[in-house]
């Protein structure tokens, strides 16, 4: 076990933040969406998951904050170990709420609450019992700055979040996820509903965020994975085909299937 971990560090020379081990996942209807996936998420790095639709990359991502627990009948097998405390976040004894407080998520479609901009960002703090006005003000400001949205909204924090553009809404959702200072942030195709300029903003934002935390992103867009990620994993039919340095994956993949997908011969 220890040897294997050291090997991984040796292979990529990175610190592991979280790692799935032999992860299987079954939906309530019995379909197996993940098949024996073992994949590390490195600290302060962006790991991108690519693969054709239905390959299980979103399912994998959503296992990291136990989103699947919201729907009855879903079943995990295997482990996701979160470091440095070595917690298996899939363990029945670990409350999914604790996991979601440590690992936050940004969704495909911007999904702000029908509340004010301020309340959207403050919500994660409020559920943690934070009611001090000054603390909330400071943390909301920090989060909005961290999500490069502060300049655009500082004069209208009490406006409804729906009055923002799509790209701004998505950055608001990032600010909401950021406000609680998570250890890992999950992005589920965060730019697929946005125009190219908004996409560029979000990509720059993600690159700056990795100073503070570790990022796991699912993307449909291979150029995006190549642009922003440090490591890329290619998944197909619920299995992990290849995981390596992004450069390596895009220039010299070791598996034929990866090469076919990346060069557009397949997928």
């Amino acid at each position: 076990m220890v040897v294997k971990k050291q090997n991984k560090i040796a292979k990529h020379n990175e610190i592991i933040k979280a790692e799935s081990k032999n992860l299987n996942f079954f939906y309530a209807d019995g379909t197996q969406a993940l098949n024996d996936v073992s994949l590390p998420v490195y600290e302060n790095k962006i790991t991108a998951l690519i693969g054709p639709s239905g390959c299980g990359k979103s399912t994998f991502l959503r296992a990291f904050n136990r989103m699947h627990d919201l729907y009855p009948g879903n079943r995990y097998e295997g482990q996701i170990i979160l470091q440095p405390d070595n917690t298996n976040i899939l363990d029945k004894g670990v409350d999914p709420i604790e996991v979601r407080m440590r690992i936050s998520m940004v969704f495909q479609k911007p999904n702000p609450f029908p509340k004010s901009i301020f309340e959207n960002v403050a919500y994660g703090l409020r559920v943690r019992g934070e009611n001090n006005k000054r603390t909330l003000d400071n943390k909301v400001e920090d989060a909005l700055k961290g999500a490069s949205l502060w300049q655009e909204v500082k004069d209208r924090l009490n406006d409804l979040a729906f009055n923002l553009s799509g790209g701004q809404q998505q950055r608001l959702c990032i600010a909401r996820a950021l406000a609680t200072e998570p250890e890992i942030m999950l992005f589920d195709e965060p730019t697929s509903a946005l125009d190219p300029i908004a996409t560029m903003n979000i990509e720059e934002l993600m690159s700056s965020l990795k100073q503070k935390l570790s990022i796991l992103i699912v993307t449909h867009n291979m150029q995006q994975a190549a642009r922003i990620s440090d490591y890329t994993a290619y998944m197909y039919l619920g299995k992990l085909v290849e995981h390596d340095n992004t450069n390596q994956i895009f220039t010299n993949p070791s598996k034929k299937e990866t090469e076919d997908y990346i060069t557009g011969k397949f997928g």
């Binding site: 979601r100 029908p114 919500y123 943690r128």
Partner: protein, 314 residues
């Protein structure tokens, strides 16, 4: 060559146009039929209502609202009836709303989706369609005799609450279901508990629909006669229940809950069953008042729903 092509094109265009005209006939036919039915029903209702208003017109005075019923038709008023109706609805509201909203929330957000939930769902929908006289009999057996509450405002309020409960539950569930799944996921994703999600999001985004259901339920309750007669409401009543608000501490008293009462539809029923025509005028005026109240409540429901929908976008 080009001319030939143009000829062909115009010929095709002619065919397409005549096809569209032909197919659109169904649109016009259906729209016309719909308009005709809606218009004829609305006009019929309007005529009946206007007839009622004209019949009752001589009684539309302040005295009519501030007088007790009397043996002399011209001096008779609906004071005890509208006060009774208001107090009964007050009880109904406070009994049915917390219970109904909580039940809807529980069934939608907490209960496991299994055969038992399905069974409850079918029963709740079914209850909404049960004839109101059945509720009256149930209340007579349970509240009047079983719990010994007597023929009081409390009994009537609880009876109408039973009647209103399924409407509140169903509309609460509908309103909650309209909240998109991604809003729930967003709240759970920052670490909210189920209760926090319900309190901060589900209730707040669905209260427009819930309120609509409540008002529609109340509008139904205000016109209900059969269950109130069944539990034995008085038909002639020349006193008011004790006032709920006192001038001495503790300022609130609940004696009015145990008071006898009458309600608007019973007052109307009482007058219309008299042989003297003068009382029929009173009945018509009361009927117009009930319809106006129902109309006002339903109008308010539509307005509230519209205002809240405008504020919340997904």
């Amino acid at each position: 060559m080009a001319e030939q092509k143009n000829n062909l094109l115009s010929k095709n265009l002619g065919l397409i146009r005549s096809l569209i005209v032909k197919q659109k006939r169904y649109d016009y036919a259906f729209a016309g039929l719909g308009m005709f039915i809606i218009a004829s029903l609305t006009i019929a209702l309007l005529i009946l209502f206007i007839d009622l208003v004209i019949d009752g017109y001589p009684r539309f005075t302040l005295d009519f609202f501030s007088n007790f019923p009397s043996r002399r038709a011209a001096r008779a008023g609906i004071l005890s009836a509208w006060v009774g109706s208001s107090l009964v609805l007050f009880v109904t509201f406070f009994a049915a709303v917390p219970l109904g909203v909580a039940a809807g929330l529980y069934l939608e957000e907490y209960a496991k989706k299994n055969w038992f939930a399905d069974l409850i769902e079918i029963n709740v929908s079914n209850l909404a369609g049960v004839p109101s006289i059945i509720y009256g009999l149930l209340a007579l057996g349970l509240f009047v005799y079983g719990f010994g509450l007597g023929q009081t405002i409390l009994t009537a309020g609880l009876t109408l609450a039973l009647l209103m409960l399924p409407i509140v539950i169903v509309s609460t569930r509908e309103a909650i279901r309209a909240i998109p799944i991604h809003i729930r996921e967003a709240a759970y994703a920052v670490g909210a508990t189920k209760w926090q999600v319900c309190l901060h999001h589900i209730i707040q985004y669905s209260y427009g629909g819930i309120l609509t259901g409540i008002i529609i339920g109340m509008a139904r309750a205000i016109g209900e006669t059969a269950p109130i007669i069944t539990i034995g409401a008085l038909t002639f009543i020349a006193f008011l229940p004790p006032s709920p608000i006192g001038i001495e501490p503790p300022f609130l008293n609940f004696e009015w809950l145990n008071s006898g009462f009458t309600v608007l539809p019973i007052q109307m029923f009482n007058w219309i069953s008299r042989p003297q025509l003068a009382f029929h005028v009173n009945a018509a005026a009361t009927g117009a008042v009930i319809i106006m109240l129902t109309l006002l409540m339903n109008g308010a429901a539509i307005k509230i729903r519209y205002n809240i929908r405008k504020k919340i976008k997904w």
